[in-house]
Symmetry: C2
Subunit: 514 residues, 2 copies
């Protein structure tokens, strides 16, 4: 058997186990009875151990040695170093590259640490749900502390050249450094602050009609119609409810999303559903030839987020989209939306107002939420901030960046699931996603000059088709930087996103010189 074939066989087994573990997590977040939490942690820990064995075994190292002098070292700058005249396709090369990345990651982390992280994360998620429900940060604090210690240990095992946080960030957005993110965010923050200032001085649209009671069963009906119309195939997915919306891949033909309903805020479930559909379409659009391998998923969290936020904001919060969907929404909520015309609705769903909850933030202030979390988690990892001081630091940053302060920790530091999952270095990818999305949108507009007319007729298929052809089908074959370069002809650039916001909100708020 060739080395490549054997490596593919081992990869297949690891992938199957990862999908099993994903199913167990999905169940925990949706339907699992609360009493099962301890044993579920033990089940997850065992599965993670089995996956670790399969991705870091000596045999995997030997097989990688066919192409790499030292599989434990960083990826050679020149790519695969020894091919011995072998005819390797782009997919083969990417497979070896990602397999190496995974192997190096796995052998750098002792099995004990992997198991402890999985078990702690599983339990602490449960504690987080209860802490948030009871608005009791102290209940979550010891778990958070343990997760920070485990993350520092992880970073030290993985290695880094700059700061510890680099190693954590690299897990989610390979090849991007803390320093780069700081630079990009500095520029972004400046533009956003200026835009928010000008918007605040302008006349505010009336969004109050969105906050009356909208019975949940009818919301479900509308969400399901939109979700299906966007191309999410229920033979290969499903939608359930959970405390925090997410998308998860349980197999090549099983990508599930969740949402949560707020009876008093129509837009809450709606836009989070469209957001998750964006993630799911990416995972479901991966090329057939990558099926069942580690290449069959999104290439980075930033690119993933570019998909979800393009659907949520650039399509889902656009006027053409609602030209088609508003009449249907009015059929479902006739009395609630009686006097609401397209312009009023469009302005209401795009109202810019600094607020407390990240997942309900508008398109302009959203990235300020991210910048805040990025700064806090860097400080937690470096030790500049203690967990005891975190709720206070949260309130302070919230005041500085957004101008609003949460009354409760449930609406503040306890609002997001990420830290309870042990995920540090994850948040910045959300803002990178906005930047990538705007870069892609520019090119799509050039390729499909009439796509907005199609969206206005309820047909988003051209958009999905463009995304599939240019992004989805490559899975992890091309890195984020390669995709951006190939599609736009240049590197990551915050300018298109700022220009997009200036144009959209300049018109919407009738800003001067916009």
């Amino acid at each position: 058997m060739s080395a490549l074939k054997e490596l593919r066989g081992l990869d297949r087994e690891a992938r199957l186990l990862e999908h099993v573990a994903a199913t167990m997590s999905w169940d925990q977040e949706t339907y699992m009875p609360e009493g099962a939490v301890d044993e579920r942690a033990a089940q997850q820990s065992l599965l993670q151990g089995l996956i670790h064995e399969r991705t870091s075994s000596q045999r995997v190292g030997e097989l990688l040695g066919r192409w790499l002098h030292d599989p434990r070292a960083q990826w050679p700058a020149q790519g695969v170093s020894r091919t011995d005249g072998e005819d390797l396709s782009e997919v083969d090369l990417a497979f070896i590259r990602e397999k190496h990345r995974q192997y190096r990651h796995a052998v750098s982390l002792p099995e004990r640490l992997v198991r402890e992280m999985a078990e702690t994360a599983s339990r602490s998620q449960n504690e987080w749900v209860l802490a948030r429900k009871e608005n009791d940060f102290s209940r979550f604090k010891p778990w958070l502390e343990k997760l920070i210690i485990l993350n520092r240990e992880t970073a030290d095992c993985l290695g880094y050249s700059g700061v510890r946080y680099d190693a954590l960030l690299d897990q989610y957005e390979p090849g991007v450094s803390t320093a780069e993110v700081k630079d990009v965010f500095a520029s972004l923050r400046k533009s956003l602050v200026s835009l928010v200032q000008r918007i605040s001085a302008a006349e505010q649209p009336d969004g109050s009609f969105l906050e009356q009671p909208f019975p949940v069963p009818q919301q479900v009906t509308f969400n399901e119609e939109v979700m299906t119309a966007l191309g999410y195939d229920l033979r290969r997915g499903r939608m359930d409810r959970s405390a925090h919306p997410f998308t998860t891949t349980l197999g090549s033909d099983d990508v599930r999303i969740t949402t949560r309903y707020d009876e008093k805020l129509l837009t809450s479930a709606l836009f989070s559903t469209i957001h998750e559909v964006g993630h799911a379409l990416y995972e479901l659009g991966v090329g057939e030839e990558l099926r069942g391998t580690l290449l069959a998923e999104g290439t980075s969290l930033g690119i993933h987020e570019s998909q979800s936020r393009m659907w949520e904001n650039m399509i889902g919060r656009s006027k053409p989209f609602w030209q088609h969907w508003l009449p249907r929404l009015q059929q479902i909520f006739p009395s609630e939306l009686k006097n609401v015309d397209l312009e009023r609705f469009y302005r209401a769903i795009n109202r810019v107002a600094p607020s407390l909850i990240r997942v309900e933030a508008d398109e302009v202030t959203y990235s300020l939420h991210i910048i805040m979390r990025f700064e806090l988690e860097q400080a937690l990892i470096s030790g500049d901030l203690s967990t005891g001081d975190l709720p206070g630091a949260w309130r302070e940053k919230s005041r500085d960046l957004l101008g609003v302060v949460p009354d409760t920790d449930a609406q503040g530091v306890l609002q997001d699931v990420h830290w309870s999952m042990g995920a540090f270095g994850y948040f910045p990818t959300y803002a990178l996603g906005n930047l990538y999305a705007a870069q892609f949108l520019n090119v799509m507009e050039r390729d499909l000059p009439l796509f907005r007319e199609s969206v206005a007729q309820g047909n988003t298929a051209p958009v999905l088709d463009w995304l599939r052809r240019n992004i989805h089908r490559y899975g992890r074959v091309r890195s984020a930087a390669e995709l951006v370069q190939q599609i736009t002809g240049g590197p990551l650039d915050p300018a298109p996103f700022v220009a997009y916001l200036e144009k959209k909100y300049g018109e919407l708020y009738r800003l001067q010189g916009g």
Copy 2:
């Protein structure tokens, strides 16, 4: 480390993986999107292989060798043969006995066969669902054929002294032979035929009011109330819907049930819910000291069925039970049940009428459904009956035993999930359950002379408590035969069940000399 401690560690890992596999099956039966079926089969196959490795490894054999001269041989009649002065408790001895049984079973079956059975069963269940929906036996036939071949191979690997079917039966009801079942069923059939004849000649109660439309949401409300009142704790379980109701154990604190609703038949979901609750209470009542081991489950399917059928029929279809619950049911369905008094309701839910669907059969004819399946599956395994002739044979037996013939295969040979799961030798345990249950009921009545008064007040806690103390807490520590001997002072005996039916239905139908 002592041999026992090491064996317990290995067992723990196998149990965790079995619970993971159970979660994957539960998901497949309840929520999994249809497109995922192929990959789910591969996931299950991998998990079964991992479990097989952990229960049949050389090390397990070596450890068992501490107590057994040859762990591959049948369990020595004298029990553990070498204890070297070790102080083994009843639980330790049972653990070694069951570990040996599992090991012998596992090493007898090649991993290839285990994987093929799991994969085929997973796929064929999906085909069965579609075949039943489309009333197309030919769609299911090739899968059934393959499962029969795999079952014969399984029996040959496991070994048997009488007929091949013995080995299959022993998987579900250890220690019971085909010949014994034939004897018991011969006696049972005679008594049932006589009773059914006398009942058919009597005046029939009117059950028509049960078959009007009962809106499903209200049925759900009532089912959930009953389920909770019986002691099923939703912190350690949950109820969902599936094509065929089942109970499954996903962990020590996670035992789930499913049901299915028929809007036009109130009793369909109701009694299947009570039935599954009976199974779940057994699994949830296992003693703390057995937690997480292979002893923490029902000791045989027959004993399991004794629990579900005792709750379903002997409690759930008794007059005292409805003395409490009928007023509540009438609150929920006021117009539907306006003129129905306790006597009329009691007679209606106990109406004896030969019918097509096993899971909806009455208490008297139910065992005739089982005898029919027992005879057919024996013939399929022996080769006396081909799968092509099965639908015809089904209709013929149905005419002979029940006097009714299904119009469609969906209502006939395709009605049960068992064969599609590859389970042959399973059906007879249902009828054994009836017999065990009546034997236990006799003793319970002696121990708790006032339990019916308590049930009539809506309090079934004394019943659950008695079952926990006498049966549940032992898990698999005591075999079916040991439990029956210990509780009743004698062996398996069909007489109490026949006497129970004669008394109940003699009164209900006012039979002469009853």
